[in-house]
Symmetry: C2
Subunit: 186 residues, 2 copies
Amino acid sequence: MARWQADTEGRLKLAAIELFGTHGFEAVTVSDIAAAVGVTERTFFRYFTDKREVLFTNQDDYQARFLDALLASEATAPMTLVEAALHGGAAFFADERRTWSRARQRIVDSSAALMERESLKRSSLTDALTTALIAKGVAPVPAALAAQSGSAAFHLAFAAWIADDETRSFTELLDDVLADLRALLG
Amino acid sequence: MARWQADTEGRLKLAAIELFGTHGFEAVTVSDIAAAVGVTERTFFRYFTDKREVLFTNQDDYQARFLDALLASEATAPMTLVEAALHGGAAFFADERRTWSRARQRIVDSSAALMERESLKRSSLTDALTTALIAKGVAPVPAALAAQSGSAAFHLAFAAWIADDETRSFTELLDDVLADLRALLG
């Protein structure tokens, strides 16, 4: 799928997503995934705590991109700080990740338990953005509003980015949604 | 607690919330609630499908207040339509409901399962607002952004309204948060 994940962990992820896509998330076992890559279950568990974890790896790295960009910004306006954070997060979704993200999202959307985990992940990002804005001196209510509006914009851009036949970059799509957000109240 | 709920359903709700508050949501049974009001379990089940339902009743009526106000509005700007919806919803939280809402929220916040149900209820409201905006002619992305930002504002106003010692009306608090929202992007 992509050269940036040719290691064992990457091969396990690719095998898992292919198997989940073909047989459904519930039907695939850790043993199936390990066998597809030619490693033992024990090797699988060196990288992931369970099969669900394969879809939710890199979460700290993901969130750090938003927070690092926010903390590095010299801006003081809450929405400008949030936009800096979102552009930091957008860099995570490089074009070579799009095929993986499409396949992953299809699997997440097929399972209520996975959707719930995804929703927690999004809330955790929004909470982290709110906390970072407050640390930058933004009052709690504007901080929460900016974080939640920004997070909504980011996930709308993500949905557009993984749509069939979409070829524009994540950043381009994000900028379109952010322009819509500014126009809403402008 | 309040005269507007002196019927059996209202008495069951008040007894339940008192028992949940004292003993914890998990520890209280339907039988306890029914006994506290002097009715049979069978009577309880005439009003509620389970003890969790006691905390999530009136949901259709609640959502209808937002949607009726939105549909009745003559506005075309998405944010103005959403504000009309939120003011419709605000009327649900009359001052005589505040004690109930405080007690209810304390119970919801004590249980991961109840918080999850609450979170679904909020998503369902946001989805309904998005759909209503689209029906009014708003494009999908601005509709989703306006619904999500507006919903965030509404729930921040709710959190302020049930804070200890807060006496301002829901509408007053909502208008403050909406002013913050406009200022964010203004």
